[in-house]
């Protein structure tokens, strides 16, 4: 990884001149960001800085007003089957888990492979059980999401994303809705993924995770990327005033 934080244009995910408005509010201002294969990019910043919107724009759950977003060299299609196909290659983990409430844990993980990838049912189930084992919830496979704790649900959501063999996984504040004692179990799964060279974009407030697992920290404020650097540099000597303020506020305690 480059120390300067500016990467080549040939990233797995490449955003160029991306702008988005919510009415009057300019939530993404001319965003340029390139994420290399195997890279773990942590996006941090104050609330309302546009970091979740940025994350959601990468698989077009949010549309953008101008600019381009490319995945593996291909621009995002605007709608329809080609967009669905592209999304299948981009995993997403949500703040509120969003497990399919009417499906069992196992069905949550197998549904994508079965219906989107048309995987053989036996194979899909076997792979799903391996993934549930890996995230430590295999014993809950036949239960429904509402019967699991938040931490367990979020780990299932990670298994669901992994089941599609994605090129990149987007994490939109994956631990923000969790009770404190459950945050660690989810972060451990994510750190494990990072070690295995999964390409990840993680919007989070967990500075510990950013320090230990990120290759690069991207700091956003008011819809702009203000600063980006490797975690050591960013946390010890942030250059921008806004990053210094932000870190001053959150690291005080």
């Amino acid at each position: 990884m480059s120390d300067s934080g500016t990467l080549t244009q040939t990233g797995l995910v490449a955003l160029t001149g991306v702008n988005k408005h919510f009415g009057e509010l300019h939530v993404l201002k001319d965003i340029n960001l390139s994420i290399a294969k195997g890279e773990v990019v942590v996006v941090i910043g104050p609330s309302g800085s546009g970091k979740s919107t940025l994350c959601r724009a990468i698989n077009r759950l949010e549309t953008i007003d101008s600019g381009t977003i490319e995945l593996d060299g291909q621009p995002l299609p605007s709608e329809g089957k080609s967009l669905a196909k592209l999304r299948a290659d981009v995993g997403m983990v949500f703040q509120s888990f969003n497990l399919f409430a009417h499906k069992t844990i196992l069905q949550n993980v197998t549904l994508g492979p079965l219906k989107v990838r048309k995987t053989d049912p036996k194979q899909a189930e076997q792979r799903a059980m391996e993934l549930l084992e890996r995230v430590g919830v295999a014993s809950q496979a036949s239960k429904y999401p509402a019967q699991l704790s938040g931490g367990q649900q979020q780990r299932v959501a990670i298994a669901r994303a992994l089941a599609m063999d994605p090129k990149v996984i987007l994490f939109d504040e994956p631990t923000s809705a969790l009770d404190p004692e459950m945050i660690q179990e989810v972060l451990e799964v994510m750190i494990d993924l990072a070690k295995q060279q999964m390409t990840m974009v993680v919007v989070t407030h967990e500075m510990g995770f950013a320090r230990s697992a990120a290759n690069r920290v991207v700091f956003m404020a008011d819809g702009e990327i203000v600063e980006q650097a490797d975690p050591e540099t960013f946390f010890t000597s942030p250059t921008s005033r806004r990053a210094q303020d932000f870190l001053g506020k959150i690291l005080k305690h």
């Binding site: 509120s96 969003n98 009417h102 219906k115 509402a146």
Partner: protein, 215 residues
Amino acid sequence: MLSVLTDNWDLFRDGFWLTIRLFLVSAVLSLVLGTILGAFRVSPVPALRAVGTGYVNTLRNTPLTLVFAFLFFGAAKMQLALPSPFWTGVGALTIYTSAFVCEVVRSGINTISPGQSEAARAVGMTFIQVLTLIVLPQAFRAIVPPLSSVFIALLKNTTIAAGFSLAEAGAIPAAMSERGENQLITLVWITIGFLILIVPLIFLQRWAERRTAVA
């Protein structure tokens, strides 16, 4: 009082049998058409949404008698070939009822958190898959009670067909008056007939509510 019914059993039997057929066929067809229209109304394609909205706004606000009149007389005026009176009646009832089914389906879809469909889209499902695999199965639970009301209304609405040469239960009073039978007792028996028909609908609703209860 019982003799009014037994002496004219043929009228009652044929009338209610036609009512049942009109109801069942129209119920199935309006469930299908209404669900498709409901899907239109939440579709990502603006043109489909416009079609759905236009349909509901027009048909839901047109009296059913007028829908019948348009089909039976209007279509004849325009020299359009009509199917049998039975199927024309089914057509009128279906066109009208599906506007209500559409709104019930749409309101059911709106009870499902947007996170459910976002997660399904993020996995790579198409709009149809998101709807049929994730949203509608969950929405069905919220749909059952209002949908039952729509179908009970449909059952009673079939009596409009009597005015359009369909001898269903609503046409029994006229035939009975020709036979010189007591009108009041006739009406009481027809009411009892409809109550008997509605009972299975209520049981169907209870069963569907239990079936769809969350685990």
